[in-house]
Symmetry: C2
Subunit: 367 residues, 2 copies
């Protein structure tokens, strides 16, 4: 195998596939990246067996072949080379020589045959989403997945693909995030995608409007195709919770509030809340003012935020962390907070559209 | 005590004195910052008993007083407040109320009387240095101090203050850094300043040319006065090594090389050097070329850098870490590398001036 490629392009490609490589793996070959010629292109692959990332780049292929090289060392070396042509040559023992201007590296490679093949997902009957929209949908849901593994299905995000819309839902027993988008799809499907996969996809997705990601499913895997980059991940097995029955249809109290002002006040209140237990902050909603208070041994805080209120006064307590995380990812200038009683869930919704719903359970106030 | 000050100014001031506060202290009062009125100014003080930082800011003092507040909590709160006026009020129990727009914090304070006084250093017979020059002198020496405490004196930097110059010297048994500056001083002195103190000073010093730092010594302490900020530190006790006798006066081989090109090549070579033992890189100096090589189990590297050579060919080995750290802080475009034999020290010097000398011991090559 022998080829010439550009340092910057090669380095960016290594950086992409490295996201799937785990340094903690017990299988040494998985610490490597597969580098293989593919027609007149170069293909790089990294995988931890749960998720696999393939990236194709243009290269001048002088003779075909494949090799596996240490992901960490290769990445470090290529990053440090000048922005110039790099020549890569692999001999029959997988010994790899990398030449660039006045530098020559010789690395011990491993045989490509030992590198595991990624699961096959046929690119038929897929779904299409603009990359920037998908990025936003991930951002607004993935943070609400469960961290602990006691109910593995909750560590993923449910994707419901329907003829006229795509819903993404995450919940962890304390809060729920639901993002909806209108799309046209030829058929229905649903699947639960691991949060780790979505976090990596989020880093790869572009913020430009005019490029789409294509999504294909099998019973056990999902493929995301983003032009030159393909990500293949296993799906989580099992049934997701029937989330629709958790979301209340009605409310008794509704407060309209400026998102940024509430976020700032909550951030300050949480400085003391996190010193105490439960991150507890209390809301006292009265007429045109919402007071936020929190107590800890070291001191207390009192914040007030102006609101527009429909309905009666209410006192209710929350874990500030769950509120803050939602306020940070809502782009709208104003939100509604909808309450029924001080022991029933609060719904957070943007004022200007209805594609996002966040539910948060209250903390019962004592006394 | 009651006063009004600006959020941005107060926050920057907390940030400065926090550098002296250690979160690991066993004396609870030292986790706090002393806040005291001082005429029509506000004084903040942080200390870990080794180093103390005082910072004065303008404030509207409504009634005098002093209190000690948790450094971490106070810093977090003030940083999160809006850029507006902050009112601070302390009652007889040291309970402190902080008001700013729609926020009100009440914090438990500690009595100022319990806060340790910083050591006194009279501001007489001092030395003056432009802040940007002192910053540069610290940067070019402090990295070469010893990390381990087996010889405590080597964890500091020797300052030699002479009538026409100031020298700063650091060494750790493997390398030595000497920075000289021409200044006019009224008297001679020398002292060894802990590297931690210099690192904190470096973060406080400005990069502007026209402000000076004033330096005052007692037998056991040093005071750095930078306008509104005063840093007081203990000195290291004991005699510094007679460093002048370590630096060779002559050389047999001298190579002139581009600093940045050598740095880049060394950084790449060290990627493999650090995989092996000792960070070993080998220089082969021949005519107009210096080859840099390194070997590890996973592979090897060959770099070549063009040089101008005076004297004979030489082969010599180094710990790449000690070379890299010096190359990173030399501002000159070109340097001289001066050698005598392959087992004697190498001297690194800027080509364009003589105020910096770096000495590095070679690693004996086997075979």
């Amino acid at each position: 195998m022998k080829l010439i490629c550009n340092q910057r392009v090669f380095s960016a490609c290594i950086n992409t596939v490295q996201k799937a490589v785990s340094s903690k793996t017990t299988l040494p070959i998985l610490k490597g990246i597969l580098i293989a010629t593919y027609g007149q292109q170069l293909k790089l692959v990294g995988t931890d067996l749960e998720i696999g990332i393939e990236n194709y780049i243009d290269a001048e292929i002088l003779s075909p072949g494949a090799v596996v090289l240490s992901s960490r060392i290769l990445g470090d070396i290529i990053r440090k080379l000048p922005d110039a042509d790099i020549e890569i040559e692999v001999d029959d023992n997988n010994t790899t020589t990398i030449r660039c201007e006045n530098s020559e590296f010789t690395l011990v490679g491993q045989p490509a045959i030992e590198f595991p093949e990624l699961s096959r997902v046929e690119e038929e009957e897929g779904y299409r989403l603009p990359q920037d929209l998908f990025k936003n949908m991930i951002k607004q849901t993935v943070f609400a997945t469960a961290v602990d593994e006691t109910r593995p299905i909750l560590t993923g995000v449910l994707m419901e693909l329907q003829e006229e819309s795509i819903n993404m839902v995450a919940l962890d027993g304390y809060r729920l995030a639901l993002r909806q988008a209108n799309t046209r799809n030829s058929h229905n499907n649903k699947a639960v995608i691991p949060s780790k996969t979505l976090n990596e996809i989020n880093r790869i997705l572009l913020e430009e409007e005019n490029t789409d990601v294509e999504i294909f499913f099998t019973d056990r895997h999902v493929l995301f195709n983003m032009n030159k980059i393909r990500v293949i991940s296993r799906l989580l097995e099992g049934d997701f919770i029937n989330y629709k029955q958790i979301i209340p249809k009605e409310y008794k109290v509704r407060a309209k509030v400026n998102t940024k002002k509430l976020l700032n006040s909550m951030e300050r209140a949480s400085l003391l809340a996190k010193e105490g237990k439960n991150n507890l902050v209390k809301f006292s909603i009265r007429d045109e003012i919402m007071n936020i208070t929190s107590n800890a041994e070291i001191g207390k805080v009192f914040e007030s935020v102006s609101i527009e209120l429909e309905g009666e006064d209410i006192d209710i307590g929350f874990n500030s962390k769950y509120f803050l995380e939602a306020l940070k990812i809502i782009d709208s200038e104003e939100i509604y907070l909808e309450f029924t009683t001080s022991v029933s869930p609060c719904i957070v919704k943007p004022v200007d559209h209805s594609n996002y719903t966040y539910l948060i359970l209250p903390v019962r106030l004592v006394g």
